[in-house]
């Protein structure tokens, strides 16, 4: 044991003595590892993002959207889900603790004093905030009475709030929407961008009855509804049930496609993976190429070094170093350099990913994982590409070596 430590000390001495070799090997490994670090952090970021989105979406909830892509493509109507459907679902699915219809009206202008802003009007029930896990942080939530009484009240999103009110407190003030005066009663918390780049904070939430009757004059159909279940683990089962339930209610024949679409948390994850997948593959490829390049730089410089240090190796062998000792020393030199490269690379990755997030919306999440992956890879390069030069060093004949 002490013997190994003494040989490690020799390796460290050589790493410090051959500065040019150490520098170039370290830099090339660091570049490769930094790319890998960014990739791991991005992958983790994507998963983290997916997890957050599922949390926000509600891991226990399904979203049923009227119309389907196929239906839309062939010009069939997309108004398919009625308020009655939603009510029927509420009664049919006894393990659902929350069912909320939603009516979306896009591109509506809301104004306050001289400020005008295009926004998304959403009609829903008093369950909206809890259905979307989206808390009201100021004022009060929509009530059942607001829905029953077709009240002209609304909850305002942070972005719309900034555009219309600036720093003014909106609670109690009136906003004009399509000749209807809507009193703001509550403020929603900040939510940011959706993965498709939609600003979620630009919206106004009103009672679904008010939106249907007073804003767009609609009596039956809604855009979608959302349903949350007590037993999250059976969600897949409920998704199928819901499909059959709606097909039956809409009297669809077996050969007809669904006239609605069900979105589950799984689907969100799939979507996000598809979105970031190609980026990760590209970065991964770049990182692997970088690392292999670093490996060849290391192997080459070490082979040169073995040649240059033939005499040293001969001296060590003649005074009692075994082949294994020489192998161990050179491998240790390689691994020490690549480990340092790994550490530098990790820091470089940290900095460059900060820069990346500045230029583009980029899911980056650093945890011990990216550090561990970087470290393991740097050891793998040190051993993998250091082995050949090291075994060449170990197999030099001591006589020839000393004579040179």
């Amino acid at each position: 044991m002490m013997r190994l430590i003494r040989i490690l000390a020799q390796a460290l001495m050589a790493v410090r003595a051959f500065k040019v070799r150490t520098f170039f090997c370290l830099v090339s490994v660091a570049l490769g590892i930094s790319a890998i670090t960014v990739i791991v952090a991005t992958t983790e970021g994507a998963f983290h993002e997916a997890y957050l989105m599922v949390e926000r979406f509600g891991p226990d909830s399904l979203m049923v959207i009227a119309g389907s892509d196929e239906a839309r493509a062939v010009g069939q109507r997309t108004k398919t889900i009625t308020l009655a459907d939603v009510e029927a679902a509420r009664q049919a699915f006894t393990s659902a603790y929350l069912t909320a219809p939603l009516m979306a009206v896009e591109g509506t202008t809301a104004s306050y004093k001289n400020n005008k802003y295009q926004t998304l009007i959403i009609g829903s029930t008093s369950d909206y905030s809890s259905a979307w896990s989206w808390p009201v942080i100021e004022g009060s939530d929509l009530s059942e009475n607001d829905v029953i009484g077709l009240k002209n009240v609304g909850l305002i999103g942070q972005d719309l709030l900034r555009e219309l009110f600036g720093t003014e407190n909106p609670v109690g003030k009136f906003v004009m929407v399509k000749q209807v005066l809507v009193q703001i009663i509550g403020v929603l918390s900040e939510r940011g961008m959706s993965p498709t780049g939609v600003n979620l904070d630009n919206r106004l939430i009103m009672p679904v009855s008010t939106v249907m009757r007073k804003i767009i004059n609609e009596t039956r159909y809604v855009t979608l509804f959302r349903i949350r279940f007590l037993d999250q683990e059976n969600l897949g089962h409920y998704e199928n049930e819901m499909k059959l339930f709606l097909r039956q209610r809409h009297a669809l024949a077996d050969d007809q496609p669904n006239d609605f679409r069900i979105i589950s948390p799984m689907e969100i994850i799939k979507f996000l993976v598809a979105l970031t997948g190609s980026l990760i593959v590209f970065l991964g490829l770049a990182g692997v190429i970088c690392l292999i390049g670093a490996g060849f730089v290391l192997a080459n410089l070490f082979l040169l070094s073995v040649k240059e240090r033939t005499r040293e190796i001969g001296i060590r062998r003649s005074i009692g170093a075994k082949k294994g000792d020489i192998l161990f020393q050179f491998l240790a030199e390689a691994v020490m350099i690549t480990t340092a490269g790994g550490v530098v690379g990790f820091l470089l990755g940290l900095v460059s990913s900060k820069l990346l997030t500045m230029v583009a919306e980029f899911p980056i999440y650093f945890s011990w994982k990216s550090a561990v992956v970087g470290l393991l890879l740097s050891w793998a390069i040190g051993i993998g590409f250091g082995l050949q030069p090291a075994s060449r060093a170990a197999n030099l004949e001591p006589i020839k070596a000393v004579r040179e």
């Binding site: 040989i7 005499r311 062998r317 009692g320 000393v402």
Partner: protein, 227 residues
């Protein structure tokens, strides 16, 4: 035979041949050599006589093609590479013509080098290195790199290194070949001192003045001992 009277080096009809251009060339053609413990022997011979090959065999840097070699009572003819490394480390101190110090290590670190590879668990090398450096008169150069030292100083560091593991046998290959005659004399006096200190010393040289320090001269010519 007990420890004292058994020979340090005992070679019995040792041959060594190398394959050069598809031909076996015999360098040593049957060497019988007996060096007793505590002897100071000079091996002399013209270049090409095989004295360096003999030195490699004595030093366990190479194995004989045929014959038998017993070092300090142990038959080393058929040992593996690792076993030979241990023998070199524990029983033999090497002094080279071109000093063979590691350039990026200090004098002190160079002296310690053989002690790094020792298998023995008890190892008071650090203290011994200081003593040895004082003995060879280099106590003021311990932290210097070898390149800053004169040839004589480098060779004295080499001798200190050879002694660090307290080997029974000191083996020197033209140790004064790169030194002027005054410095050479100093170095040879060190070997005489070591010999007085019960070390067996074998020196390979072609210089009769150097061989003169030995108590016995063995001559080798065309791969054979001259009697």
């Amino acid at each position: 035979m007990d420890e004292i009277t058994q020979p340090m080096v005992l070679m019995d009809q040792v041959t060594k041949s190398f394959r050069i251009a598809d031909q076996d060339v015999a360098i040593l053609k049957g060497i019988d050599l007996n060096v007793r413990r505590g002897e100071f022997v000079a091996v002399m011979g013209p270049s090409g006589s095989g004295k360096t090959t003999l030195m490699n065999l004595i030093g366990c840097l190479d194995v004989p093609t045929d014959g038998r070699y017993v070092l300090a009572g142990r038959d080393v003819t058929k040992l593996t590479d690792d076993e030979l490394s241990v023998i070199r480390n524990e029983h033999i101190g090497f002094v080279f013509q071109n000093f063979c110090l590691i350039p990026y290590a200090t004098v002190y670190e160079n002296v310690l080098l053989p002690s790094l590879y020792t298998m023995k668990s008890k190892n008071d090398a650090a203290g011994r290195a200081v003593d040895l450096l004082r003995m060879v008169g280099l106590e003021h150069r311990t932290r210097s790199k070898p390149a800053l030292l004169s040839g004589g100083e480098q060779q004295r560091a080499g001798i200190a290194r050879a002694l660090i593991n307290s080997p029974e046998l000191l083996l020197a290959d033209e140790p004064t070949g790169q030194l002027d005659s005054r410095t050479a004399e100093d170095i040879m006096k060190l070997f005489v001192r070591m010999n007085a200190d019960h070390k067996t010393v074998i020196i390979i040289t072609h210089d009769p003045n150097i061989a003169g320090y030995a108590s016995r001269i063995v001559r080798i010519k065309d791969g054979l001992m001259e009697t």
